[in-house]
Symmetry: C2
Subunit: 737 residues, 2 copies
């Protein structure tokens, strides 16, 4: 047992949390703006907390129930104990806490960003990015803190000296991953439903029916809309990456056990490979913190360049440090590794640098997937240009072109994932594949900071609009927000890629835990059936998420209409606002007075409540499917374990394609609308109205695809795999003993 | 060698062809209607033939090239000879001939159906269904005739006595299947592009821009549109099912060889299992012919019931005869069958009735998939009703609801396919799985007759409109056509289900031909990469097909606009027609005169030419992908054969889901539009205009999905598998010798 490898990661995690605390305090000390801004900010913060409170209340029951079931079913097993329930609860608590802190700070950073934007671009960027950093660092800090601490405790409790004690230790540890997945399910799927129900509802009644601008304070759904950005894009994305981060580390620790004997034979620390994922996490945290110092811009500068410098800087640092760390931890020479898939075939031989190559492959593939995503969805590029061209002939051709774009855009990311898998496997076996997921996620700290920056900038824009801070300020927040859209696309690419690799790593961990007794030969009809059902699940899951958004949006629309009808002050104010908007001017003094009189009369909390209820309620069934299907399949007498293996693979491969398809189609429609709105439809100036309408339709179709059903699939594929990994000892006991 | 089993199928095939000839002559003798109808019919027939001529010209080169490559690469192999090229050419010729005859008769039956509809419903049904029967019987007749004859020849040439001579015979025979696939690719993908390019082009300029009714003779694209129905839905569907039919028979003959020893041990004919698929084809033909006699209705009766009686009658007959045939051909007792996937595991034991169960399972699953398809896409059912509800809030929600519906609708068909696989495998091994595909396709004769009836009825309606036969006639053809839409949906379900099972059977045949040396263990990263790439292919393929339709439709629109501009007589006639249409009345005498003056001035042939060129050109790249990718993957040194195995499975499972998703979404949008148009939007009468517009948008989006990209995936999954099956001996030579 090498103490530095054990406690180093915990130390780095503590550093991340301290740094997050410093950043949070700094954000807190910034100017929160005028009274009106603070009032609006307060509404958003209250709405976000209302959602979290409600979500956590439901979660509490769910977690207790699962913990009891998990503890009871693992109690008598040779390879596990009821303590797995403790890991599970710890994982859930850490992820929930990260989400809570991240949201709390994001809902403080939004008004402060708007306030700073009154003075200049760099100040606003710093506030927004600092707010995002808190989320990023809390996620990696709490994840590594939890995992590291539990690993130290379990190492002492159960030992890591023999293969069987190490297996027990890691198995109990893996409960942490399921806890993270549970929170991710609620945060990402629920959050995705919330954000789009509010967005679509606010848009359809506000912009379309009432004819008032987006984010107008008269619209009762507007606060829910801004809350949604935080719920979906800050907490949801955070929980998603928390899950991937934890899942990739846990599964690669499990797969690393196969290297122990080979490393020991060369005189190395037999636990070297098991520690490695934790150490990579440690390095990733340090690189991320350094990266945040690179994020600076000046007035007139390009915020995108600043964010890129931070991310790429961290990535390059990471690669260099990884090579050094692996060289140091893993001995030189030919390392013999048992082939888990085919133990009788004899060991395979790898070198230390194979592991470094695997990490590098993951990081490179993740970055390239992000860039490809950006290419397919960014304004000014060919794919979005083709959507704009097709908008000339109306909404139908716009939709077809977008669907085709989304489907087309699956090709390169899939090939990149394949490349990462082949590289990692060829030079470092299954452990390498898992490490490439760790590599892709190693800089999650800064990656997520950049992601969470997006919704903060978006919120700041909304607040600038609602608080009427004027054109110049809005222009600055728009500039920050435009960057946020691109980083969101890149972040989504990263999230999907890492989810795929993590799911595959967890599938390998499942096979390892089944001691090579599971064979997923696709020519075996039972495995094939597993593959088929797995392949179909993402279709079903996506459909449920889309329908949930539609229904929730309908409820929202009804509530907004009710308020417009029943609240006496709103109607005249709406008329005044609409008149000004339709004449494309600011409201005059008299109109302003009427609008002012209605200020604060809209019952924002009602709309927040509706979105919250819908989000919590509608994610239950899809969530249950993701949990129940793998368990039910796994229990089928005789064929269960093999079928389950097929299910995991089928679900992962089709989930990846469906997620990329939906996210990119949605992203491209969104930006096509923006480009047309900004006059970027080139020679077709005369057709502006039709083209704008067509692209708005595309954008509305794309909304649930890119922000609800698409990202939910990340959760689905990981949840199904983690459930399989967790129930493996039980299945082994039932089927093979 | 049992002569009855060898020559019986050929005899039944001859009977089918004779019966088809009688039906065709009967159709030919029916009243072709007045001069105007004959003129219109002539244009459609000429257009259809123009397409076929052009397609066959391109095909000729392609086939010669492939035949040479195939012959040369198989020449020196132990398990194959250059004669496989002969089978290939024969397969292509038989499928092409079936398509030619089917189209020829369909383009005669359309005007005769319209003519008969002037007198009554039953007469019209008889003509339309007889026209469809010719297509159905030619497909099964020529398929079984070709396969049976070649099998007899090769049996004599190479022998069937030893395992290796039988393998050689069957391998050479399997070239027939690749020939069928080649035609299917051109007919289904090319035909799909043709039909939707013409349809969308005609609608957008005619209905939307010029404001004249659908099928109006002034629209230069209207003939192309009607040709498209024949090209896509008659020839395309025919070639698709021809391919499935042949593929399932050939692959189950190959898989049947595993049963030889076990059957011989019980004293049975060791070739019994190899003959069985041909014999089932024979029985299917006889049952289909009997089934056609059940199709009758009377004035005011329901044509749907008549068609159902025919199909279900044939199905029930089929089941009874199958049990008898299998009981007679396969000995009673425990039959030991070598497990191809794992020869060392020792033989498995099956009974004769296991085979009957497999056939029954396939037929049942096919029927149920058809019914589920009908449920999800039919007017008056809940799913379409939900689309209509969502149309109240505009096109965007209509699209989202339709996408969700399509994705949802994958669940039950996938489970049914899984059920059929599990049943067949449990009771009859891999041979059983292949036989369940044969079972699903056994009644193709009548199934396809019903399918091909649809476009004939649709054409008859168009002709009634163009020839102004009056409301009563149009009402009758509409009634026939409405049934056609449902049967089309059911037929599509059948086509997808059978394509999936056929592809899986061909994949098993690929594994068999590789003598158990290929292992598609999904945990092996190379297999996994194959699965991932395979899973992605249907996304890419669909996108290409959709974009092709869009581009071709744009060309069509330009041509129609050019004609409206340049042809002097058209403009005033258009104005007159539009005026009458906008006032919702028939043209008055003066307007009629103006319209009459322009009659025949529209240059239909130009539009036909554009659709033809586009269809032929745009299907080349997707077609090449389907052929090149499996070959390229298979050739990768060391890992090729395993990766290819993964590719086949990945492509099949994702192709099935994508095909069902797209077909059903498209079908549901189509019928939602129809239901709204017919006043079936219930309580929302006041919102008719918006809802109609929203559902029209849905329908336009759905058109390429349901008629081009969705059905093309049937071809993709089969083509990839048949290529693998064909190149197996070459790969074996390269990799394992």
């Amino acid at each position: 047992m090498n103490n530095f490898y054990l406690y180093g990661p915990i130390g780095a995690a503590a550093l991340a949390l301290i740094y997050a605390f410093i950043k949070a305090s700094w954000v807190n000390k910034q100017d929160p703006g005028n009274e009106r801004m603070q009032k609006i900010g307060g509404w958003i913060a209250d709405g976000a907390m209302a959602f979290l409170r409600k979500e956590y209340k439901v979660l509490a029951f769910f977690i207790i129930a699962v913990a009891v079931a998990l503890g009871a079913s693992n109690a008598g097993l040779e390879d596990s104990t009821w303590m797995i329930a403790v890991s599970f609860v710890a994982g859930a608590l850490c992820s929930a806490l990260a989400g809570f802190i991240g949201m709390k700070v994001a809902t403080k950073a939004n008004i402060r960003t708007a306030s700073a934007a009154r003075k200049g671009l760099n100040g606003a960027l710093r506030v927004a990015f600092s707010g995002g950093s808190v989320m990023g660092l809390c996620v990696v800090g709490l994840a590594l803190m939890g995992l590291g601490t539990l690993f130290v405790i379990y190492s002492k409790m159960y030992g890591v000296e023999t293969a069987s004690t190490l297996a027990l230790t890691l198995n109990v540890l893996s409960g942490f991953s399921l806890g993270a997945s549970t929170i991710a399910l609620f945060a990402r799927v629920g959050g995705g439903i919330y954000t789009k129900a509010a967005d679509v509802g606010a848009d359809l009644v506000g912009k379309v029916e009432a004819g008032i601008p987006e984010d107008h304070p008269l619209n009762p759904a507007t606060i829910a809309d801004n809350v949604g950005d935080n719920v979906g894009d800050v907490a949801g994305m955070g929980a998603d990456l928390f899950e991937s981060y934890v899942g990739s580390i846990v599964s690669s620790m499990i797969l690393g056990t196969a290297w122990a004997a080979g490393i020991a034979k060369l005189g190395g620390d037999n636990m070297g490979a098991v520690y490695l994922p934790l150490v990579l996490g440690m390095i990733g945290i340090l690189c991320s913190i350094v990266g945040t110092f690179f994020v600076k811009t000046k007035e007139g500068g390009n915020p995108q360049a600043a964010l890129n410098t931070g991310t790429f800087g961290a990535g390059i640092l990471m690669i260099i440090s990884t090579v050094i760390a692996i060289r140091y931890m893993i001995p030189q020479g030919s390392i013999e590794v048992v082939n888990i898939l085919n133990p009788s075939a004899g060991p395979k031989v790898y070198q230390w640098w194979g592991l470094a190559l695997a990490v590098f492959g993951g990081l490179l593939a993740g970055t390239l997937i992000g860039l490809v995503t950006e290419y397919y969805t960014a304004t000014g590029r060919k794919p979005v240009g083709q959507i704009i061209n097709s908008a000339r002939t109306g909404p139908a051709t716009t939709i077809i072109q977008g669907l085709a774009l989304g489907m087309n855009s699956t090709t390169i990311p899939v090939l990149l994932i394949c490349g990462a898998i082949i590289t990692a496997y060829s030079f470092a076996g299954l452990f390498g594949v898992a490490l490439s997921a760790v590599g892709m996620l190693s800089t999650t700290g800064i990656q997520l900071a950049v992601d969470a920056y997006g919704p903060i900038a978006d919120n700041a824009g909304g607040i600038a609009e609602m608080a009427q801070l004027g054109r110049e300020v809005r222009a600055r927040t728009d500039k920050l927000d435009a960057v946020g859209n691109t980083t969101a696309a890149v972040g989504k690419g990263f999230a999907i890629g890492s989810a795929a690799l993590t799911a595959l790593a967890m599938t390998s961990a499942y096979l390892t835990k089944m001691n090579g007794r599971v064979e997923i030969n696709a020519a075996d009809p039972f495995v094939l059936v597993g593959l088929l059902i797995g392949c179909m699940l993402p279709f079903r899951f996506s459909a449920m998420a889309m329908v949930a958004v539609g229904k929730a949006a309908q409820d929202m629309i009804k509530e907004v209409r009710r308020q417009f009808d029943e609240i006496a002050e709103l109607r005249p104010a709406l008329m005044a606002a609409r008149k000004a908007e339709s004449e494309e001017r600011e409201p005059n003094e008299e109109e302003k007075k009427i609008i002012q009189a209605a200020d604060g009369k809209a019952e924002y909390a009602h709309c927040v409540g509706i979105a919250t209820d819908a989000a919590i309620k509608k994610m239950v069934v899809p969530g249950l499917i993701a949990v129940v299907v793998p368990v039910a399949i796994g229990l089928i007498p005789g064929y269960g374990p093999n079928m389950l293996g097929g299910l995991l693979i089928g679900c992962t491969i089709s989930g990846v394609c469906m997620a990329i398809f939906q996210s990119n189609a949605g992203g491209a429609w969104d930006n096509a609308k923006k480009q047309v709105k900004d006059g970027g439809h080139a020679e077709f100036k005369d057709a502006y109205d039709e083209m704008h309408l067509a692209t708005v339709t595309g954008d509305t179709v794309g909304d649930p695809l890119k922000d609800t059903s698409g990202p939910s699939l990340n959760i689905l594929i990981k949840l199904v795999s983690v459930v399989a990994m967790i129930i493996a000892p039980i299945l082994y006991e039932l089927h093979f003993k």
